[in-house]
Symmetry: C2
Subunit: 362 residues, 2 copies
Amino acid sequence: MTKALRALFLLLAFSLAATAQAAERRKVIVDQDAFEGPGLQPILMLLQDPTVDVLGITIVSGDGWAPEEVAQTLRMLELIGRTEVPVIQGAIHPLINSKARNTAREGQYGALGYRGAWTESWPGDNTMKRAPFHDPKVVPPMEIGLPKIAARPGSAADFLIDMTRKYPGQVTIIAMGPLTNLALAQRLDDDFAGRVKELVMEGGFFGSTSTRDEFATQVAYAPRLSFNHFWDPEASHIVFTSPWQTLTLVTGDSSAPTRAGADLLARATASKRPVARYVARTAQPGFPLWDEVEAAAWLDPTIVTQRGTLAMDVDLMPGANYGALLTWPAGKGPGLGERDVNLIYAIDVPKIEAMFVDLIGR
Amino acid sequence: MTKALRALFLLLAFSLAATAQAAERRKVIVDQDAFEGPGLQPILMLLQDPTVDVLGITIVSGDGWAPEEVAQTLRMLELIGRTEVPVIQGAIHPLINSKARNTAREGQYGALGYRGAWTESWPGDNTMKRAPFHDPKVVPPMEIGLPKIAARPGSAADFLIDMTRKYPGQVTIIAMGPLTNLALAQRLDDDFAGRVKELVMEGGFFGSTSTRDEFATQVAYAPRLSFNHFWDPEASHIVFTSPWQTLTLVTGDSSAPTRAGADLLARATASKRPVARYVARTAQPGFPLWDEVEAAAWLDPTIVTQRGTLAMDVDLMPGANYGALLTWPAGKGPGLGERDVNLIYAIDVPKIEAMFVDLIGR
């Protein structure tokens, strides 16, 4: 073998090995209302897992407005040195719902316990640190500084369509917020849902646990209202009636017994490596591990201790139950496009805590 | 004292004592979808209590059609020798809802677990013995024979209005079924609700217990749908927004842990006295003590082990949640007429069983 041929051979072998490794990594797009703290920590868990290939992070309004969430996500990627991961802004507003309509509905049907980016003044408790209410397109100053990098041009829906065309049947979408981007993608391209390997989403309380903590008080009064679904009910309806290969819902019941307490955060950030340092700067103790549980249940299904299946849809009547989850026994819905959903009702709490500490600490 | 004077004196004393006793007896009207078995046993408990004066039994459709329920109630009174208690037929149909509308809604939103008198064919389990589906005004043959006595002429709503005019502030109404008659009375006479001492009604699951038995499967899928309220949602709305002095809801949670098992029925009917004999002929073992718990909680409030207060109303949107109970923290509803309701979440099961055995056995 000549020296040149040998070098070429080595390069080819290396490249093949890298390709094989890359092929083995599970492709994921995270669709998230990515607000600092509880909104970004679950994304960090996915970014930190070497078996996962995060193709991109698509942003949707929900907990905050999409432009501010884009800035927070970009800044996070800068601080942890992962600026190669694309961030794509998605829908600022729900398909039909709006702040004005929601305000009118609250006047008629009572105040919501939580209303995300629509909240004009935050109560003293049960909320994250955040900038005062602002125009959806304004990015307010950030304590950790504004990002220097920018989002990838184009819409989240187009990114979702393009990536699933590039890797048909290989991409899992982990939707951690309202489902506007996914609904837009499906209506832009009717073959979109069929190309997705699995859609994992979050929300809903089904009484599988009796945990009714301060963050789930709304559940006690309106058990089927869940923020990720009542923010954009029409989007949820489109998602519940689209032909996904596999559709999974990680319920609020499953994350209710968890808590990102000061002790857990201290353990997770003790390594002082870049991700740990970022989390130490931005985490706020006391919130359930809502979307962290969703990420963890997909990363390691062995943490799941209780599963179920229900046919599901969303109430679109513009009343008190606008956006409330509808359920039927599996296969026994009205047969108007709704489909069976795999539900995750409970997980192993020590295991998710260990995963959180391990992945954030790396 | 002359003999005549002495006789007069004795008569007066006796009459005064009788009047005093009568004055002490608590006045009640039972409004019930009074179907044989679980629909009539709770009425028997009230009739058997010597401290209670049952002014009348008003009948409403629900579990069955009102005319058949009137016949069953009259026959029961004949067999136990209490034909002095008036029975008054109430509304056959809900205010707005109907079998046809319900069928259309089930086509669009999925089958209901239980639909009372609208049921065309009864499944093999989870139901009471009953005649095949029939026209609302037809009274089918009854195993225990048809009654010879007749209902009191006039409507249930007028009877409720008249009795509360006769005894303002003294009459408790124990509504064990849908609320059509009460809604009609309130719209016929705007001062009606204000004259009622207390309205006690039944229904709703609030997750206070984890009991989800075969009779509450609907609850698992649509936690706020409860038959007594989704049969006639507009009536429930009128009742939830009327100015009762006291409004109490005995929840499904409170009766879910109870069961009229064969053993309990055997104990209750062992005395072989008329009421026991009637119950032995008509009872069907295996059902929860739904309305018996409601009667018992009013007869003896010390059996109640868990109470609460919620602002309440009913969803009137003609969709999947038509008739679903709406709740808010006490005093925190939208302020559109809804009012705080006293809820009974749990009772002492051995105590209600003992009361049932005692009252039915007398």
